[in-house]
Every structure is written in structure tokens, then in C-alpha cells.
């Protein structure tokens, strides 16, 4: 059986949501091992086992949290050379991308990014990645020596606990971490707290684009979102313009979301953006340009002025809720 490894990013001992998605995919492909690094990582073992990890490597050195990528790459290299897995999957996250890319250069192996699916094919792997904003699905096969490294987009797989199987076997590691070479070191962490639900978890998202005209017009989005219990998102144009912090960005370089309802306000629907939201069950768009590509995706599109319609919509929602 193929050895399939999952790079299990954890935050204070809790696996990131994408890790459970990776495990769900990995256990269908082979015998699954998770690698969980950083302080508190051992606390994640139960959850990792529940989603299909048969074995978990744990190393709790604080360096894995304080230094970008390199300690994880050093350790993964040692473990991969010892156990020789066939495939290693990573979440397409900030850290996942740094670690997987560095590792591919270290090992001289194939790295396939932006994947939404991995299947077996003729004794190897076939990896599907969307291109051009998801309008094209490209299938790639790794050719270099094993293991193939694959970065899987968050929300590409629905996480489901494994039906059977017991607790994962745990191997605690304590190899020294080389901190002597030049590294990128985290000095401190800042959170830009948004009110309401997290974008990644929200069932409803109200999202704004350049068509809002000015940063202060996001206030009406906040109001609408509060009425609907929704999270607020933004397009790249808005984030690049500095109207909203990066943590709001939905799309290729931002977050991938899959809400039940996505309300796009003043968003034209550039592929950069739609790749991150076209998985929404229902899309509603309001935009003044009837030619905006967002209308090709929307279940309901309204051609009109967001500055006029959104305040009216807030009133409509309030009055209906009042009934």
C-alpha cells in the first residue's frame, strides 16, 4: 500500500481545517501518516487519528513555530529519506506553500500546486488543478523520483471522520533542530480581528469590490452582514488598494470559501476572485456593469447601483425579519 503523508499544520494543538480535508483525501489513497510540528502538536493526535492517520510523527520544538519553513524542511527530509513515502500532501496555505516548495528543491522532486484532487493512475498519481480561474482543469502526473509533493487548495475536499480504525500510533521526535543557519524568524504576531463569523466557516458571505467606490462604503456591508449573520469578504482590488486587510481577501492569493450564500457587491468577477468563491452554493451579485463576468456565475444578478440598492436591501431584510 502506498505511503501517503499529510503535513499537519496545527494551531495551539488544533489541526487547521485543511488538515482534516487532506487526511480525508489521503486515507483513500494509501496508508496515512501525519507529521505534526510545533508546541502543542501532540494534542492534535486524537483528531488526526479520527480523520484517518494511522501514524503521527510529533515534534514539539518551539522552533517549528518561531522559524519559517526551514526546520520543518530539515525534519521532513530526514523522515522522508528514512520511510520513503510515495506522496506528501500539504494545504495550499502560507506555511504549506513555503515548506513544500523548499522541500521540492531540497529533494529534487515534483511539486504540484493548487490541486483540487489527487487520484491513482498507472501505479502513480494524477493531480487535478484548476487554471484560469477554474475554467480549465489540468491533470498533471509527477515524473521525478518519489515522493510527489502536492499542495491542495483548502475546501477542495469535504472533511469527514474515518468510519473505522483506532487511535493513531504516535512517535514523539526530539532530534535537535538546527537554528544556527540564516533563518526567517517570527518576532511577533498581530491579529486583525473581524467581527462576526470567520470567512472560512461562514454560511453566508457579503463581499465587496472596487465598485464600492471608497473604503468607507464597506460600512454598509458590515451592516448588511450583521443583519444576515454573515462574514465580510473583499476582492483583491480592494485589498491591494488598502481598503481592507489581507485577511478579508477571497480568491487566488486569498482565501477559498464555500458558503451557502455568497453576495458579491460591486465585484466584477475577475478570475482571480472567482476561483476563491465559485464553490458557493448560491451566488447573488449586484453590479452596475451588465457585462460584468460575475453575472455569468450568479444565480441572481441585479444590474444597478450598489450604493442605492444595499441600503434598501438592509431595510428590506430588517422589515422581513421583523415579521
Amino acid at each position: 500500500m502506498a505511503g501517503v503523508w499529510v503535513f499537519a499544520e496545527t494551531v495551539d494543538g488544533t489541526p487547521k481545517p485543511v488538515v482534516l480535508e487532506l487526511l480525508t483525501k489521503a486515507r483513500a489513497l494509501g496508508e496515512t501518516t501525519a507529521v505534526a510540528l510545533g508546541p502543542g502538536a501532540s494534542k492534535s493526535v486524537e483528531a488526526l487519528g479520527k480523520y484517518g492517520a494511522k501514524k503521527v510523527y510529533v515534534h514539539e520544538d518551539p522552533a517549528f513555530r518561531e522559524i519559517l519553513a526551514t526546520p520543518a524542511v530539515d525534519l521532513l527530509t530526514r523522515l522522508i529519506e528514512k520511510d520513503k513515502p510515495d506522496l506528501v500532501v500539504f494545504g495550499m496555505t502560507y506555511d504549506g506553500r513555503d515548506v513544500a516548495s523548499r522541500l521540492s528543491a531540497r529533494l529534487g522532486t515534483a511539486l504540484i500546486a493548487n490541486a483540487t484532487d489527487v487520484t491513482t493512475r498507472a501505479g502513480g498519481w494524477a493531480i487535478v488543478s484548476p487554471m484560469f480561474g477554474g475554467s480549465l482543469l489540468v491533470t498533471t502526473v509527477p515524473k521525478a523520483t518519489a515522493p510527489a509533493l502536492v499542495l491542495i487548495r483548502p475546501k477542495a475536499v469535504a472533511a469527514e471522520p474515518a468510519g473505522s480504525g483506532g487511535a493513531a500510533q504516535v512517535e514523539m521526535l526530539s532530534d535537535p533542530v538546527d537554528t544556527g543557519k540564516p533563518v526567517a524568524r517570527v518576532l511577533r504576531r498581530e491579529t486583525e480581528k473581524a467581527s462576526g463569523p470567520r470567512l472560512e466557516d461562514a454560511a453566508i458571505i457579503v463581499s465587496g469590490g472596487r465598485g464600492l467606490g471608497a473604503p468607507e462604503n464597506f460600512k454598509m456591508l458590515d451592516e448588511l452582514a450583521a443583519e444576515l449573520g454573515a462574514a465580510v469578504g473583499a476582492s483583491r482590488a480592494v485589498v491591494d488598494a488598502g481598503w481592507k486587510p489581507y485577511s478579508f481577501q477571497i480568491g487566488q492569493t486569498g482565501k477559498t470559501v464555500k458558503p451557502t450564500v455568497y453576495i458579491a457587491l460591486g465585484i466584477s468577477g475577475a478570475m482571480q476572485h472567482t476561483v476563491g468563491m465559485k464553490g458557493a452554493r448560491t451566488i447573488i451579485a449586484i453590479n452596475k456593469d451588465p457585462e460584468a463576468p460575475i453575472f455569468k456565475l450568479a444565480d441572481l444578478g441585479v444590474v444597478g447601483d450598489v450604493h442605492k440598492i444595499v441600503p434598501q436591501l438592509i431595510q428590506e431584510v430588517r422589515s422581513r425579519k421583523g415579521k
Partner: protein, 258 residues
């Protein structure tokens, strides 16, 4: 302070891309090619650093001869010189092969800082900067939305899921910059004229010692299929004549959102 900025020429992102059905590669003929808009922020970041301090910004790109135009654009913005890694043997390079070619092309040169975009707008795998960092043995400061360099160290604000981390590394280092880091300048006419006389060195595989070890000969992966994704069907589009908000609210009610 000497800065190297890696850039890529890509098909105009405002015109949707196409794959050649036979080779499964990007169609480059008949489409406008531009300097990747993400890379303009890298060039701008480099220029700001040398304007504050002293030194030069060198632009490097790998691609066909036509990629010279992308380098010229960066030179018109104010960069000082360019290197184009170009060779028929580099066609079809994957990310790792690209990183190896760039690493080989700058061997023996010393830059205090290497700046890249976080990812190209067309391929968007975002692998090359970290691979380059690994090949050169340099620390990588990735996803920077703010960059400061002082006393031999670079400090960035690195974007995260819910905010940013302040991360530092000793120089030399590699930084990837996001679009939010700066407003890229527009080349002035004077800059465009001056760019024509700036040196752009062209190097091939034999110059950088990678004959037979790059491009097709060193592929780690192969695209075997490309099919159009199932498109979402467009729904109803209505023009707002005063009833738009009501129509949306009705729909939200149907969806049991309210």
C-alpha cells in the same frame, strides 16, 4: 545595497488565457504579453530600497527573447540593468527547473536582497521563490505586505489567515511581496528612453552550466490533460428599476437566509 528582482512576462491577465490542445502549454502567440502586474510591486519595492540607500536594482527573467520587453519595462520604471536567461532548451521548464536556471545565472554575484512576487498571475503555483531560496541557501521572508531593511536585516509584515506576523532575517535574503506592499510607479517617458540604453545581458544554458539539465530534459512533471471545467450556469439577471433590493430580499427569504 544591491537588489535583484525576479520578473516574469505573462499573457495579459485581462485577456483570458488559453492552453494549446496539443502541447498543453500556454498559448503565447497572438496574445499581448506584459510584465506580470504582481512583479511591478517587486520592482517598486527594490527601487524604493536603493533610492533610500544607494546601490542598484538588477532585473532577472527567464523566458523567450520576447521577455526582453518585460525587462525593459522594469528598466523604464528605474531599474539599472537586466539579465535574461533564454535558451531553446529552457522551453517547457517547470518551477524547479526555472529556479535552478535563475540560481545558476546569478552564481558568483552577490545581492543583498532578492525580491520576487508571491506567485505569477498566470501559473500561480508560487513555488519558485522558496525553491530559489533553498538552492541558494538563503532565508525566505514570504508574503510581505511591508518591508523594511536596516542594519543588515530585513523585517517584513507577513500576511497570515487572520492578520500578520512580523518576521526578520539577516541579509542576504529573499523576500516575496504581495500586491498590497506598494503602489507601483508608472514608467515616465524619460525612463522609457533611458531603458533602451541600459544593459541587458543574455545568457543561455551553456553560459550557466546547465546544458542538457533544464527545461524538457529536467521536467519533474508532465501535463497530460486539460479539459474545460463544468461551468456554473448563469441564473436570472434583472435590471434594477427600484425593485432590485426587494428581489434580492425575496430570494434570501426563498433560501431561508431570513
Amino acid at each position: 545595497m544591491n537588489v535583484l528582482v525576479c520578473v516574469k512576462q505573462i499573457p495579459d491577465p485581462n485577456a483570458p488565457g488559453k492552453l494549446d490542445p496539443g502541447s498543453k502549454r500556454l498559448v503565447r502567440e497572438g496574445v499581448d504579453l506584459v510584465l506580470d502586474p504582481g512583479d511591478e510591486h517587486g520592482v517598486e519595492a527594490g527601487l524604493q530600497l536603493v533610492e533610500k540607500d544607494a546601490g542598484e536594482v538588477t532585473i532577472i527573467s527567464m523566458g523567450p527573447l520576447k521577455a526582453l520587453e518585460a525587462i525593459r519595462r522594469a528598466l523604464a520604471m528605474g531599474a539599472h540593468r537586466g539579465i535574461l536567461v533564454t535558451d531553446p532548451g529552457l522551453e517547457n521548464s517547470d518551477a524547479l527547473s526555472t529556479a535552478r536556471a535563475i540560481a545558476a545565472a546569478i552564481k558568483g554575484k552577490s545581492y543583498d536582497l532578492i525580491i520576487c512576487g508571491t506567485e505569477s498571475t498566470d501559473g500561480s503555483s508560487g513555488a519558485v521563490p522558496a525553491q530559489l531560496a533553498e538552492l541558494l541557501g538563503l532565508p525566505l521572508l514570504s508574503f510581505a505586505k511591508k518591508l523594511e531593511v536596516a542594519q543588515g536585516r530585513a523585517v517584513i509584515d507577513r500576511q497570515t489567515d487572520d492578520g500578520y506576523d512580523v518576521v526578520e532575517a539577516q541579509l542576504p535574503a529573499i523576500v516575496t511581496v504581495t500586491g498590497g506592499i506598494n503602489e507601483a510607479r508608472y514608467p515616465a517617458l524619460r525612463g522609457i528612453m533611458q531603458a533602451k540604453n541600459k544593459e541587458v545581458k543574455q545568457v543561455g544554458l551553456s553560459d550557466i552550466g546547465l546544458d542538457g539539465q533544464a527545461g524538457k530534459a529536467a521536467l519533474t512533471q508532465e501535463v497530460i490533460d486539460a479539459t474545460p471545467a463544468e461551468a456554473r450556469k448563469a441564473g436570472e439577471v434583472v435590471e434594477d428599476k427600484g425593485e432590485g433590493a426587494k428581489r434580492v430580499a425575496d430570494f434570501l427569504k426563498e433560501l431561508k437566509v431570513i
